[in-house]
């Protein structure tokens, strides 16, 4: 993190170019004089960077602004059609691919079914096909694709884009997804775990704008998280930090998919709730889920809760409580400014969110609890697709600085 930048002129040029490009993205239409003033760069540097960006088509001149004395300044904006970004959200049962323009608008997306038994080769091929479908629909040349971001199940090696052993993806072991996708598509690929992508997406496009210390927790079939510290993803020593789903909450609790016992994921995730519902019904609880006993789904459980089913409501209430305890732990550990909760359980159950929020505030250390805001995610159903695209935006606009926009 605190590397000392040496006098490498190429690197400095890249950093300056990213600074100028990102400022034009954030503040455009903007004049060169204002770019100079805000970045603190000297005028020659700004002029060269802008010339460079215009020749690459990333930035366009859109006419003259009003003068503050002297010649009227030429205004610069991003050219939304100069480059495109592919987002890809990969999970055990579904694959979504989306096409974004340079200002972060989702143009087209398509969803592909995926079976747990599908091999990496099959999945890579489907992503490639999906990408070409979207490009054809939008009539965009592949040469204009800046990169592809992939949000994938962790733990994984983000630097090399290798998936270790994603749960519920049979036979996937140390899959070099980045390398495979780059070979198949020819575009640069950025892979990160779903929690990290969600956090980055919230900073780029949601309520996380300008927040430097943020934690995103996904509460869905599984539980994942991404942590941003001082504007950078927190990865730990081999990119596995922030496994909030695998905090032990109940020492002698049920076995978790990770091999441990009583992890948050084993007792409060969608999978766990569905399992608990089945167990309760077998023990004699009455519920409208009874007819589905042998394959209750999370959506059925959420629907039952909406209809006032007591078992479903109790399970969601308990889920919120367990989540609240885990969030209090997380607040005590990381002392964050903002915690964003996303995923199906949060989106569809205000009960889970409110219970978790309330308990987390009560249970965390008071000096830390005072500082933290806990909010639901703001990017809707496709938050992980947006997060995947945001991985590429970070690379393009923040370049060698490798941090998120402030």
């Amino acid at each position: 993190m605190a590397q000392i930048i040496t006098g490498n002129s190429d690197l400095i040029k890249q950093v300056n170019r990213s600074l100028v490009l990102d400022l034009i993205r954030q503040r455009g239409p903007i004049s060169k004089a204002d770019v100079k003033q805000i970045t603190g760069l000297n005028f020659t540097t700004v002029t060269n960077a802008v010339k460079d960006l215009i020749s690459q088509g990333l930035v366009q001149e859109i006419g003259y602004g009003t003068s503050s004395g002297g010649r009227r300044p030429m205004l610069l904006t991003l050219n939304p059609e100069a480059r495109y970004v592919i987002g890809c959200h990969l999970q055990s049962t579904e694959l979504i691919v989306g096409l974004y323009d340079l200002v972060g608008r989702l143009l087209y997306s398509e969803s592909h079914s995926k079976l747990p038994a599908d091999t990496p080769e099959m999945v890579v091929d489907r992503i490639r096909t999906g990408m070409y479908n979207l490009l054809a629909k939008a009539e965009v040349d592949i040469k204009k694709v800046e990169g592809m971001g992939v949000a994938a199940p962790g733990p994984l090696d983000a630097e090399n884009g290798v998936l270790y052993t994603p749960p519920n993806m049979l036979g996937w072991h140390n899959v070099p997804l980045k390398q495979m996708l780059e070979q198949a598509t020819g575009v640069p690929v950025f892979v990160d775990k779903d929690g990290n992508a969600a956090a980055v997406g919230e900073v780029w496009f949601g309520k996380g704008k300008g927040v430097r210390n943020l934690i995103f927790i996904i509460v869905d079939d599984g539980i994942g998280a991404g942590i941003v510290v001082h504007g950078q993803l927190y990865r730990g020593s081999n990119t596995g930090a922030g496994e909030i789903g695998h905090i032990t909450i109940d020492l002698d609790g049920p076995r978790c998919s990770c091999g441990n016992y009583g992890c948050l994921e084993a007792i409060a995730s969608g999978f766990a709730l569905v399992r608990k519902a089945g167990e309760a019904i077998r023990r004699g609880a009455t519920s409208q889920l009874t007819p589905h006993l042998n394959n209750i789904t999370l959506s059925q459980l959420l629907t039952a809760a909406d209809a006032g089913d007591k078992l479903a409501c109790d399970l969601l209430e308990e889920c919120g409580r367990l989540l609240g305890i885990a969030i209090a732990n997380v607040v005590n550990m990381y002392n964050p400014e903002l915690i964003v909760l996303g995923g199906k359980l949060i989106q569809h159950s205000p009960l889970v969110f409110h219970r978790a929020q309330e308990l987390a505030h009560n249970r965390a250390f008071s000096v830390l609890a005072e500082k933290v805001r806990i909010i639901p995610a703001t990017l809707g159903d496709k938050y992980l697709l947006a997060g995947a695209a945001a991985l590429v935006f970070t690379h393009l606009f923040r370049g060698p600085m490798n941090d998120l926009p402030a």
């Binding site: 510290v229 596995g240 032990t248 109940d250 020492l251």
Partner: protein, 341 residues
């Protein structure tokens, strides 16, 4: 590993403010203690008297070492949290220290920069610069004595969080719905594995068991049982002591598995009185934690004892200065400066 300074001509004052004792030391940039002084805290004297006593100790230590005041770069202070921006905010071990601007007091009285840090964070920095964590950019330090404190080093810097109070590892819930903790929560690690909780649990077990145990005899009475008594009884193969200890290492091991899953460290360093339990502690805790943590994270992690011993308070406080100076130096030499060159 990055070391900010190696010039041993420059010195740092390390000040350790504890609930029972005060310690001040003059420390070199390579972590050697040149001279030190200790004295009981006498909490009832209140912050003003105690702070004045500490400033006097700083001058005495410097005089004792025969060192010119101009060779001292800065003062680092370690103190129980919560703290914020150099201000002590009512720590449980220092009653009456409500909103005391400790850093400002020292820098004013001593005429040099002074930096205040949570004592567990300071100890983590001490172990990182000079102890078991040398060269390990991602590490977690956990001190288990009367209470439990933690400090996390990430990418070679102390992880402070939004207002400097991160890594309250003692208040990680390990037993859902478990024992009450003084923080108001239930089932915190602190409520099981701290020295005082260990002693309390032992006393309860003795009273509840109705089973013969060496514990009361070794201590003199049930009320007098401490963590040390437990260790003595373990060495004498007392079965009840074994049950208590097994439960303790199981809970601590699970807590450390969560810590590994959260911070993905290369090392977890344990310090404080609990390390007197030696392999009885490290053997099972290492096994349980690494078994319970997620595989790719467990693979790179290890759990080891702290190395700084009794000097950790002073050396840790001095290391706080190194962490700050490292930052200043990075800024001065231009991580960001050169962007605008």
């Amino acid at each position: 590993m990055k070391r900010a300074f190696t010039d041993s001509d420059q010195l740092v004052l390390g000040v350790d403010i504890g609930g029972t004792k005060l310690a001040v030391g003059l420390v070199t940039m390579s972590g050697q203690v040149v001279a030190q002084e200790r004295t009981p805290t006498q909490v009832k004297d209140g912050p003003e008297v105690i702070l004045t006593r500490l400033v006097t100790l700083c001058r005495q230590v410097t005089a004792k070492a025969g060192v010119g005041w101009n060779r001292i770069v800065a003062t680092g202070i370690g103190c129980g949290g919560p703290l914020e921006n150099g201000v002590v905010k009512s720590p449980p071990n220092l009653p009456g220290w409500d909103d005391i601007p400790v850093a400002e007091f020292f820098s004013h009285e001593l005429g040099m920069p002074a930096y205040l840090e949570n004592d567990a964070n300071a100890a983590a920095l001490g172990e990182y610069f000079f102890g078991a964590g040398r060269g390990v950019a991602n590490m977690v330090y956990l001190t288990i004595s009367t209470g439990i404190g933690g400090g996390v080093i990430t990418n070679g810097r102390l992880y402070r969080g939004e207002n400097g109070n991160a890594a309250e590892i003692g208040h990680m819930v390990v037993v859902h719905g478990g024992r009450e903790c003084y923080c108001g929560n239930r089932g915190c690690l602190e409520a099981y594995a701290s020295g005082s909780s260990l002693a309390r649990r032992a006393r309860e077990k003795v009273l509840a068991a109705g089973q013969a145990s060496l514990l009361p005899g070794l201590a003199g009475s049930v009320e007098a049982i401490t963590a040390e008594t437990l260790l003595q009884a373990l060495e004498l193969q007392d079965p009840l002591a074994h049950d208590i200890w097994n439960e303790t290492v199981n809970i601590l091991g699970s807590g450390l598995a969560s810590v590994i899953n959260l911070f993905n460290p290369r090392l977890v360093i344990l310090g404080g009185g609990i390390i007197n339990f030696g392999e009885r502690l490290f053997g099972p805790v290492r096994r349980i934690a690494l078994q319970r943590a997620m595989k790719p994270l467990a693979k790179v992690a290890d759990i080891v004892p702290a190395q700084l011993g009794a000097e950790v308070g002073i050396v840790g406080a001095a290391a706080v200065v190194l962490d700050k100076l490292q930052l200043l130096r990075t800024v001065r030499e231009g991580t960001y400066g050169s962007f605008y060159a």
